[in-house]
């Protein structure tokens, strides 16, 4: 990820990660750690949520 920062790409990545994480939670499973980090969520903290 050495390319120059772009708001558009950031938003796009954010949206992609939000999608993937949302889909995972919708089926009661844990989202991918990378997606969570993209969204600013600490995966360890996420795992603490009991489902």
């Amino acid at each position: 990820m050495t390319r120059k920062p772009s708001l558009f790409r950031d938003l796009f990545n954010l949206f992609g990660a939000a999608n993937a994480a949302a889909a995972a939670t919708h089926e009661s499973r844990t989202p991918n750690a990378r997606d969570l980090r993209t969204l600013g969520i600490d995966p360890r903290q996420y795992h603490a949520i009991s489902r």
């Binding site: 992609g16 939000a18 969204l39 600013g40 489902r51």
Partner: protein, 505 residues
Amino acid sequence: MDTFALLLQGLSVAIQPINLLYALVGVTLGTAVGVLPGIGPATTVALLLPVTYKLDPAGSLIMFAGIYYGGMYGGSTTSILLNTPGESASIVTALEGNKMAKAGRGGPALATAAIGSFVAGLIATIALAFLAPWVVKFALAFGPREYFALMVLAFVTVSAAFGDSALRGLTSLFIGLTLGIIGIDLQTGQARLSFGIPDLLDGVEVTTLAVAMFAIGETLFVAAQGKRAPETVEPVRGSLWMSAKDWARSWKPWLRGTVIGFPIGAMPAGGAEIGTFFSYAAEKKLSKHPEEFGHGAIEGVAGPEAANNASAAGTLVPLLTLGLPTSATAAIMLAGFQQYGLQPGPLLFTSNPQLVWGLIASLLIANLMLIVLNLPLIGLWVKLLTIPKPWLYAGILLFATLGTIGANPSVFELGMLLAFGLLGYGLRLFHFPIAPVVVGLILGPMAEQQLRRALAISQGDVLVLFTSPISATLLALAALALIVPLILRARGKGQVLAAVAADND
């Protein structure tokens, strides 16, 4: 007539005592199922459908909408106090909310969630009221081919575009579509996939499938996870009221959450969860105190909670104006309309304005009821959480089968309930999404009907689907929604297609 006049007319319907009662029952039930794990708004509406078909349509629909809104409110309570989200749209709330509760700030967390939901619900419902007539005007020009293209778009977005695997999403969708062709073909009277079984001639009931998939499948899945660590309810300590600083830090996230949540709900995106994650990320990026995130930042509760309620209102835009369900709950609400012989869409706005506008107006009232129900009665809702799991799930299955038996007291129907329940469990086990199955079952036959109508007009010429600019655009969007996420996912894994995508930068 302008929107205000219509909305006022709707309000006069919504404040009739009987409709107020339906709304109250709806939001109360909705909050309860939002609080309880293992049962969400989709399941509840599905359970109630067979039980309510003798009631007044307007009242029942107002109740269903109240359940939908209430579920969004109730889910946040358990997230904050228990770190156990009552339903999946409240997971993000747990991140900061439970940290706040542990730090003795559970009161303000609950308050910002409830007031944020109220603000978002209010703005989003008004946005719905103003947006709906526009979409209706646009949709009145739709013919069979445009509707078919729209449904194809919905199929793709619900199953493949959102979600982490296009393969599993599409598989779920096609299982639903296959179930949808069971029964007598309305145009030729021939039985399809019925194998001479009379019970199958009427097709698979949406409610049976939904109850089996959601209530029974979920119960089996939870049971199979075995023992978990005991849960601790964080007592609500200190004041429920937010301080001036809390207000100052909350109002912007509420508005941002609304702006994020509403369009995501209105797009055929399948569920309110995306908006909550997006809102959380946005709040963390924009916050002056990013270091507080992960330790109980109030913005991280205010934003996502507003977003999930705004999504709920957003989902009603395509449902009411186009008859297009974009989430499991919306699909079941569509089944609710159909149970009374009503077909949501542009025509319903002209043929039955009292019902549509009464429903929209009742959402405003439901919103008001919810804030009254939720904040002062928080202790009551927390008590619900002390119901032991065995009794809770035993009760859920009792009601799950009650609806099916009430609709059709046959052993065969119960057998279908069991079979689909096992299917739902299997799908969960292998991470297949459930919503596309339900959407496929309900929308599949409608799409087929529109396609056959379109092709009958064109005398069998398939090209007719691409000669209308609207349907061509919609189909192109559907193709994009199928292909772009595939490329993105491959790129995300850092594999083959990375090069292709890099060329686009």
